[in-house]
């Protein structure tokens, strides 16, 4: 059997169905959005880990948050790199660097290898197991920031912007408040803050996730639950981390005069920054930037690329021009944008 025959196989290892990405050989779905019996989950964000599946399989590191969010589910853990035979498929999970516990899912059937990467980033954020490229024939990639206008600066550089802003607020007698999704982005921001400046206060949604992560052995700097007794008076010079929806709400009033900021890859665009940032926008994303996407794709050595989420048409055209065999995954697979994701927990 020639390699060529394998790649052109008429029974693909993974297919795109209305329920989600499906593996016929193993009879399971990856990040399905309709109720199915067997689901492999790349990570705990609510647009990937949905409620109502018969059985879940995710990394040991992703499970605690999934249980916290989805309640009583029938779920099993798997270690990064561990190989499992499911029906006619060999399945393994590999670090995606997106949030703690996030994984790319490798599926091998009869020597043909597919990788569904979920969401991923290349930068080591210090909390998530760093991204590891996985060699494959077919690679499913997101393209949330798949335009050459997105270039992330190193984490230390952005951390300095963040701390300079916080220090400025504190010195001016104001509370700094950062809007961030409670899973992943919030903890990453907390770990970037300089505790010398002042106390770090967390909205209950964030603090609950912090507690789940601490319980599974992830080290986070000290944070304080911002319950109703915590105010600007009791905790001057504070940084408050809260879900974006809490910014400007009645809840935020107790922190006195404040400046608000928002951390997202979208903040790279001045227009979006002006519309969404409040007082300050910080370009911090848990997705890969342009160079990150291209690097990751190259590392897989895959020839066939399936593009989901984001600027799929443009990114696919570029990949094809560069010699890949790329295609856009049909529209119902399109992921969330900054705006559509406000209530869903997706961390752009």
């Amino acid at each position: 059997m020639t390699a060529r025959f394998i790649y052109m196989s008429s029974n693909p290892v993974l297919t795109f169905t209305p329920e989600g990405i499906y593996c016929p050989a193993g009879d399971f779905y990856i990040d399905p959005w309709r109720r199915v019996d067997r689901a492999m989950i790349t990570h705990g964000h609510s647009d990937h880990a949905r409620w109502g599946m018969g059985r879940y399989l995710a990394t040991h590191e992703a499970l605690p948050v999934m249980r916290h969010r989805l309640g009583d589910i029938e779920a099993e853990g798997i270690a990064y790199g561990e190989r499992r035979v499911i029906g006619g498929a060999i399945v393994s999970f590999h670090p995606a660097g997106h949030v703690p516990g996030s994984a790319q899912i490798r599926v091998e059937v009869g020597g043909e290898v597919w990788v569904a990467s979920g969401d991923y980033k290349i930068i080591d954020d210090g909390l998530s197991t760093p991204f590891e490229p996985v060699r494959c024939h077919h690679f499913i990639t997101e393209s949330t920031f798949g335009l050459p206008v997105f270039h992330w600066e190193p984490q230390q550089t952005v951390a300095a912007y963040l701390n300079d802003w916080w220090r400025g607020c504190a010195d001016a007698g104001k509370t700094a408040m950062l809007g961030a999704y409670s899973l992943g982005k919030a903890q990453r921001l907390i770990s970037m803050l300089d505790p010398e400046i002042g106390p770090v206060l967390c909205h209950a949604a964030v603090e609950n996730t912090n507690a789940v992560m601490r319980a599974q052995g992830i080290t986070l700097p000290e944070t304080i639950l911002a319950n109703k007794d915590v105010t600007a008076k009791t905790h001057p010079r504070a940084m408050v981390i809260a879900p974006p929806s809490a910014l400007g709400s009645a809840w935020s009033k107790r922190f006195g005069p404040l400046e608000s900021g928002f951390a997202s890859g979208w903040m790279a665009m001045r227009g979006v920054r002006r519309r969404r940032a409040g007082d300050r926008g910080f370009i911090i994303s848990d997705h890969a930037d342009w160079d990150g996407l291209l690097w990751a794709i190259k590392q897989t050595e895959a020839e066939n690329i399936y593009v989901t989420h984001g600027y799929t048409d443009i990114f696919t055209r570029y990949l094809n021009e560069q010699g890949w065999n790329a295609q856009v995954v049909p529209t119902q697979f399109e992921g969330e944008s900054l705006d559509a994701s406000d209530d869903s927990g997706e961390a752009a």
């Binding site: 206008v149 119902q332 944008s337 705006d339």
Partner: protein
């Protein structure tokens, strides 16, 4: 450039007026005169002569970024700004540079006449030296349009604070035809004002919309009423034997309205009028619709045929300068009386006419006028306090506009396209259709009127309900009904539906209305018959 970039950033990232004014005032206190002069110029839309074409900028930007040109061109509409797109795609700067803003502008002007190779060397060198905001500003110096959240009013206030000068006087000094190339900070801001340019206009006084009815204005005798014309606001200046016409957007439109040249035959030198430019055919009772004026705005010079088809007259409603004296401080009734005297002897063929005042004694009279406004080709009423001075900018209290309620129609959304700039990741540009039996006939586009929250909601819906893609345009399932408001309707052979709307926008998202209750092509044609 660093000081200017810091100022730009401070203004750009804040929505608070006080923070912006403070940042500007501090900058105006510290910067060199020439940098201050350029800062005012840039923020008021003036810019150095374009030294490099945007075509070259795009090509060089893509080349340095190592991306194909088509990819650059695809990014541009998403980012929404050429200067920003280039700044974002380029690799990080290699070094830094301490040249101040004015020096960069001088260096840019120095390559104006250079050959393309020299220009390219200069631009690429600048890109390698400038990062982030500085690079964006450099690009803006070439492309123009340095729009930040700085209104003329805000800048004037900051200048007043930094220089201890009167705000209204500064506002007047900043008007009109000046450019940093032929003035100085001293001449523009500080000098005793004798040598002012003859064309310099006064700042326009702008009205607020009247909420509710005229009942709120209490003593009717204190007020004057006029038609609110549906034309272009214009200021006609007669000085030194010449005439100048300015738009409200501070654009000099003199060449577009040659018929106003004859005004010098009927009015004395040293006269400045505020009024409405309207197409008005001799011998007719009402002005022609705004549509007939449109071709006159679009072109810099006017062919004879168009002059005949669409003759423009200034309908004057205020007098700002008389016999060379600024009379804006006088009460409106006195300015008006003088205006009436000046226009009294005006013959029929003069290009200036007195805009009439509408006699009334009760709010009910005003309601009656407003109800007849559409027949008079007006878009409502203006109500002005009789003892008010002519102020600068939008001020509450003395002038009110009381517009007609817009026309509305319920239409179905059939296409969606994402916005750019501020709305880069939202679907905001929609095409709407009316029903025609089983078919849907597109008749207008609309971009504004929804809240950010509604745009987010409809964006999520569009993503899930796309039927077909045509490049950036998506055909969506016909489902959502929107109430479209507009100011006027005209027959138009260029549109499939046969009509063109004026100022269409989304008034309401009618989530309560099913598709079957959207209006029909017959309804639209009936509106055309009534209001077209």
């Amino acid at each position: 450039m660093k000081a200017f970039a810091a100022l730009f950033t401070a203004i750009d990232q804040s929505t608070k007026t006080t923070i912006k004014v403070n940042a500007l005032a501090e900058y105006f206190k510290a910067a060199d005169d020439i940098d201050k002069l350029w800062t005012i110029a840039l923020f008021s839309g003036r810019r150095p002569k374009r030294a490099v074409t945007t075509t070259r900028l795009r090509e060089w930007g893509a080349e340095v970024a190592g991306i194909p040109l088509w990819l650059f061109e695809d990014c541009y509409p998403i980012v929404g700004d050429l200067a920003e797109t280039i700044a974002l795609v380029l690799p990080p700067n290699q070094t830094t540079d301490n040249r101040p803003l004015s020096q960069w502008i001088n260096d840019l002007r120095a390559v104006y006449k250079a050959d393309e190779t020299a220009k390219k060397v200069f631009v690429l060198d600048a890109w390698a030296r400038l990062g982030g905001t500085e690079r964006f500003i450099f690009n803006k110096l070439i492309t123009g349009g340095m729009r930040v959240g700085v209104s003329q009013k805000l800048m004037t206030r900051a200048l007043a604070r930094a220089t201890d000068r009167d705000e209204a006087e500064l506002a007047h000094r900043l008007m009109g035809n000046w450019h940093p190339d032929d003035t100085t900070w001293h001449a523009l801001i500080e000098a005793q004002d004798a040598s002012a340019d003859a064309s310099r206009p006064y700042p326009f006084y702008l009205a607020y919309a009247l909420e509710g009815g005229p009942e709120a204005l209490e003593v009717p005798a204190d007020w004057r009423a006029e038609w609110k014309w549906d034309g272009i606001r214009g200021q006609l200046i007669l000085r030194g034997g010449e005439y100048f016409v300015w738009s409200r957007g501070e654009e000099l439109m003199t060449d577009r309205f040659p018929e106003l040249a004859r005004a010098v035959d009927y009015l004395p030198d040293g006269t400045v009028l505020d009024g409405e430019l309207l197409v008005w055919h001799p011998g007719t009772a009402h002005p022609a619709s705004f549509n007939t004026l449109q071709p006159r705005i679009g072109r810099k010079t006017v062919p004879k045929k168009l002059l005949k088809e669409a003759p423009v007259v200034l309908h004057a409603y205020d007098l700002l300068e008389w016999q060379g004296e600024d009379v804006r401080h006088l009460p409106f009734r006195e300015r008006r009386a003088q205006l009436e005297t000046a226009c009294a002897a005006m013959p029929e063929e003069a290009p200036v006419k007195l805009s009439p005042q509408l006699k009334f004694s009760t709010p009910a009279d005003l309601h009656a006028y407003r109800d007849g406004a559409r027949d008079a080709q007006a878009e409502g009423l203006m109500l002005k306090r009789a003892d008010s001075p002519y102020l600068a900018g939008r001020k509450k209290g003395d002038w009110w506009k009381w517009k007609l309620a817009p026309l509305t129609i319920d239409a179905v959304m059939i296409y969606a396209q994402s916005g750019s700039g501020r709305r880069a990741n939202l679907f905001t540009d929609f095409t709407f259709a009316v029903r025609d039996g089983e078919a849907l006939v597109p008749f207008t586009k609309a971009y504004s009127g929804l809240t950010d929250k509604e745009f987010r909601e409809i964006t999520a819906w569009v993503r899930k309900n796309t039927l077909q893609r045509f490049g950036p345009v998506r055909q969506v399932t016909p489902h959502h009904v929107f109430e479209i408001a507009f100011e006027g309707i005209q027959a138009s052979p260029r549109h499939k539906s046969g009509v063109a709307l004026r100022f269409p926008r989304m008034l309401r998202w009618r989530q309560d209305k099913p598709l079957a209750e959207a209006n029909t092509l017959d309804d639209l044609n009936e509106m055309l018959r009534l209001y077209g």
